[in-house]
């Protein structure tokens, strides 16, 4: 695979991530049925729910991992890939890229949390947690950003831009 293809693939994945970001955030990721009260939570809703329950640190972590990180990643990736081949801010872009790869794993926190909740939170009629379509989109979005960041290697930032047709 040529670097060129990698860039293209990375760009395509980023684009897919951006598209997936919309249903991932607008569709509920899970449905909590607690004593008959059915509640479908989106990612943001989950954060609010945690916050309102008083679990502020957890809410902060989830907020960071599930809301901030994907946005940061998508924006950063778009920025990196958009500036691919140019010589602007090359060293800063390298730092951003390294940072992206480092925080990339955190993005899956929400999915882990959800899978644990779904597995544990089956108390029959009293309480149950079900994963919803939003989680699928969310996971897909995270996977896209993960691969996008992974495929786009740091050294490519320093590559000369392809002599495009004038």
């Amino acid at each position: 695979m040529t670097d060129h293809l990698k860039v293209k693939l990375s760009r395509a994945l980023t684009a897919a991530g951006i598209i997936l970001y919309i249903p991932a955030n607008f569709l509920p990721v899970m449905t909590i049925t607690l004593t008959g009260q059915v509640e479908s939570l989106t990612v943001m809703g989950g954060v609010f729910e945690l916050y309102e329950t008083g679990l502020v640190p957890v809410a902060a972590v989830v907020f960071l991992a599930s809301v901030v990180v994907p946005v940061v990643k998508l924006v950063s990736l778009s920025w990196l890939l958009g500036l691919h081949g140019s010589e602007v801010n090359q060293s800063r872009r390298m730092k951003v890229h390294l940072f992206l790869i480092r925080i990339g794993t955190w993005a899956m926190v929400d999915i882990f949390l959800l899978s644990i909740l779904v597995a544990v939170g089956q108390l029959g009629i009293l309480a149950s947690v079900q994963a919803e379509a939003g989680a699928l989109f969310f996971a897909a979005m995270i996977i896209c950003t993960l691969y996008a960041a992974d495929i786009y290697k740091t050294h490519m930032i320093w590559q000369q831009p392809m002599p495009n047709s004038t």
Partner: protein, 765 residues
């Protein structure tokens, strides 16, 4: 890189770039397709939004509460708002696509919430899962605005149940949800209890479709009491129809196999108060009564041979005729009995201090006795009669028992219903107490049919007093004849002899005051006595050889004498012989002996001694055996004079040791110088007293001491009052017989020669 190379390279790269671009675009494409497809299906699954108006929606939350139809989540509440007047709640529900059919005109919506009462326990899942909005019964044109039901329907899934309406005068203890039974099977529920536009209570009843055929036009409904109490001869019985019925009652219906067709939906049927009322669905008969006191519509039953066969349905005074019209229905199977010859009689209980008759009517109230006709033409209008239970009982008894009449001089404490006893067994009762044509009280009684042989034509009746206290010398008798007897007395009878023939219907008898009188069969005899001391009417007995043979009926005084009226028992007629004699036996205690000691306890009695004559008599002269006054009165009265004497009245007078008289008085002589003792010598001994007779005081312990003799006359020990003895000289010197009023000197002691006198004097009258 050369320009050519560049050109060449450019071309290659350009190719590879184009190819790469086409390949990688698949990722965003899939993402976009997936997202788009998802949003599309999500949009497609959204049904129409409907708006439901409720009075209140406890526990309903926008975005959380579901709309449930047949247990399936069919939509979600999207908004909960109040209307502008703050009177109603608007609930907006986003239906799911598959449930879009619920947005139709006939759909019922209600808020399902837990209902926990004694009678009902529903919506349990709502406790755990929270309240929800429920829907049922979709159908009709599409609609988007609904009015919710105020409360959950009883059978959410049976919209097509079959409904009938019930009407009754009053419908107590029945409520929404009360079960409806048909022969013990629950076939429906009361859906609604309301007042119709005529102001009458009405029940709407839902019968499950499966059981629709059980309901026919002839069916009658009645309310099952939650509990029924039965108090009767068999004890106390309590029926509880089950716990749910205990709380909310129940309805039952049955057609009692009377045919009829299936009823149509929403038909109007009748509700009866009891099962019996429901059964009594015969022809409507009208019975007129002068006075309907005690008749209770729906409760008073019509009895035939003691068995209820009908019920008074309603009662209405008719001012125009001055009568009370009772609407009566019989059980249909007895309808044919109601013909022109039939009669209705209102029977009332009678409660008095003298007794309670017809205790059952006390509990059940009055009833109407029905006597069927014998096949006249059918009619619907009857003239009823009213009688008390007793009259009725008499009429009944006349049919079954043996009637008799008792006449008496007076009838104290003798009530209607007093028992008639035969050898202590109640064999009948007194039905009536009234005056006959001659204003003498008579009693009408009846002997129950099973005892009718006990009443002989010669039977004798006597009164058993409620309580009696008899007291006399030596006896006190207190009789209480049971509580019933205490209240109303009783009548007893017996034949006292082998029975000859049974009494005929309506025989007449005399009622005696007591058993002794009744036993004394013959006409009373009259015995004259000088002194009636100790004689108690009705108590003092006549005895023959110590055996009671009769009783003293009355003790009267006639012309200074006591006349005792007595009766002799059957079998002792021989005591009526004209030369029989009767004597009063009284206790006598003296130093000479104790006689008649038994009379101390039993009182005096009259000893009878039969004569030998063939002729009978009713009138006798009696005598007193110990009290010889009568005898003495006819005797010889003499006066004895003495300076002083210890002898008192009552002392005896002796002749040769034989008691021949008595000292009747002790007084001063007319000149006051001497003591005068009046003595009476018995008539038959009168001739012993002669002009020359000598009287001396022989009382006391006298000891005469001589040189050769020591004599003690001990005879006087027997007579502490002292005794007088007399002697008469031998025939030549005795003189003439003494006359009453003659006076003699009373010597202190006899001269020895007096004791040797030995005259010969005939004794007797």
């Amino acid at each position: 890189m050369t320009n050519h190379q560049q050109q060449h390279d450019h071309g290659v790269i350009s190719d590879s770039r184009k190819r790469g671009v086409a390949w990688v675009l698949i990722f965003p494409l899939i993402a976009a397709l997936a997202t788009g497809w998802f949003f599309w299906t999500d949009y497609k699954s959204m049904g129409p939004e409907i708006e439901i108006v409720f009075d209140e929606v406890p526990g309903i939350q926008a975005g959380k509460t579901s709309l449930v139809y047949r247990g399936v989540d069919a939509g979600t509440v999207s908004a909960v708002e109040l209307d502008e007047n703050l009177n109603k709640v608007l609930v907006k529900v986003r239906l799911k696509d598959f449930a879009a059919g619920l947005a139709s005109e006939e759909t019922d919506f209600w808020v399902e919430k837990p209902v926990i009462t004694l009678a009902e326990l529903t919506g349990l899942e709502s406790i755990i899962q929270g309240n929800s909005i429920r829907a049922r019964n979709p159908g009709g044109a599409p609609a988007s605005r609904f009015v919710g039901l105020p409360e959950a329907p009883l059978m959410p899934l049976l919209p097509g149940s079959f409904t009938v309406r019930l009407k009754g005068a009053q419908i107590p203890f029945l409520n929404r949800g009360t079960p409806v039974y048909h022969r013990g099977v629950k076939v429906g529920l009361i859906r609604q209890k309301l007042i119709d536009k005529d102001g009458m209570p009405e029940l709407r009843i839902m019968i499950e479709q499966d059981y629709r055929s059980t309901l026919r036009t002839t069916s009658r409904f009645w309310s099952l009491p939650a509990t029924s109490m039965n108090l009767g001869q068999h004890g106390f019985k309590l029926d509880v129809q089950g716990v749910d019925a205990l709380v909310q009652g129940a309805l039952a219906f049955d057609h009692f196999d009377r045919g009829g067709m299936e009823v149509s939906n929403d038909a109007l049927l009748e509700l009866s108060a009891t099962e019996f009322a429901a059964r009594s669905a015969g022809r409507l008969l009208t019975v007129t009564f002068d006075n309907a006191r005690g008749i209770k519509p729906g409760e008073t039953s019509v009895c035939y041979l003691g068995q209820p066969i009908g019920l008074v349905e309603s009662i209405q005074p008719s001012p125009s005729s001055g009568l009370v019209l009772a609407a009566v229905r019989l059980l249909p199977e007895y309808d044919y009995l109601a013909d022109t010859a039939a009669s209705f009689t209102l029977v009332r209980p009678n409660i008095s201090l003298q007794g309670v008759t017809g205790l059952d009517t006390l509990v059940t109230g009055v009833y109407i006795d029905f006597i069927p006709g014998t096949g006249g033409t059918h009619t619907d209008l009857f003239a009823g009669r009213s009688v008390t239970d007793e009259e009725w009982g008499r009429q009944q008894a006349e049919r079954q028992g043996l009637m008799f009449t008792l006449s008496a001089e007076n009838l104290p404490v003798m009530g209607k219903g007093a028992p008639v006893l035969y050898k202590g067994i109640v064999v009948g009762s007194i039905l009536e107490k009234k005056l006959d044509d001659r204003e003498k009280p008579i009693l009408l009684g009846v002997i129950h049919s099973e005892f009718r042989n006990a009443l002989d034509a010669d039977a004798r009746f006597w009164r058993v007093p409620a309580t009696s206290i008899k007291a006399g010398p030596g006896f006190l008798q207190f009789d209480v004849n049971g509580l019933q007897g205490l209240l109303q007395g009783a009548v007893a009878f017996d034949t006292f002899a082998p029975r000859v023939k049974s009494a005929a219907q309506n025989s007449q008898f005399t009622l005696y005051d007591d058993e002794s009188n009744a036993r004394a069969l013959s006409a009373p005899i009259k015995i004259r006595f000088v002194n009636g001391r100790g004689l108690a009417p009705g108590r003092t007995e006549l005895r023959y050889l110590g055996v009671p043979v009769g009783v003293v009926d009355a003790v009267d005084t006639v012309e200074g004498q006591v006349v005792v009226t007595a009766r002799l028992n059957q079998g002792y007629e021989f005591l009526r012989r004209e030369d029989s004699f009767f004597s009063i036996v009284r206790p006598n205690i003296s130093l000479q002996g104790i006689t008649g000691l038994e009379t101390l306890i039993s009182g005096v009695y009259i000893e009878c001694t039969p004569g030998s004559s063939k002729r009978l008599s009713d009138s006798f002269t009696g005598r007193t055996t110990i009290d010889a006054e009568e005898i003495l009165q006819s005797g010889l009265t003499l006066n004895l004079l003495s300076d002083s004497t210890p002898i008192n009245a009552g002392s005896s007078v002796y002749y040769r040791g034989i008691n021949v008289g008595r000292v009747t008085a002790k007084s001063l002589s007319s000149d006051g110088r001497q003591i005068m003792l009046t003595i009476v010598v018995e008539k038959k001994y009168r001739h012993l007293v002669r002009a020359n007779s000598k009287f001396w005081d022989s009382s006391g312990l006298k000891a005469s001491m001589g040189i050769l003799q020591f004599r003690i006359q001990t005879e006087s020990i027997m007579a502490p009052d002292g005794r007088i003895a007399f002697a008469t000289p031998d025939n030549s010197a005795m003189g003439s017989s003494a006359k009453s009023g003659d006076s003699f000197q009373l010597n202190h002691e006899p001269r020895p020669e007096w004791l040797k006198w030995n005259p010969s004097i005939p004794i007797g009258d």
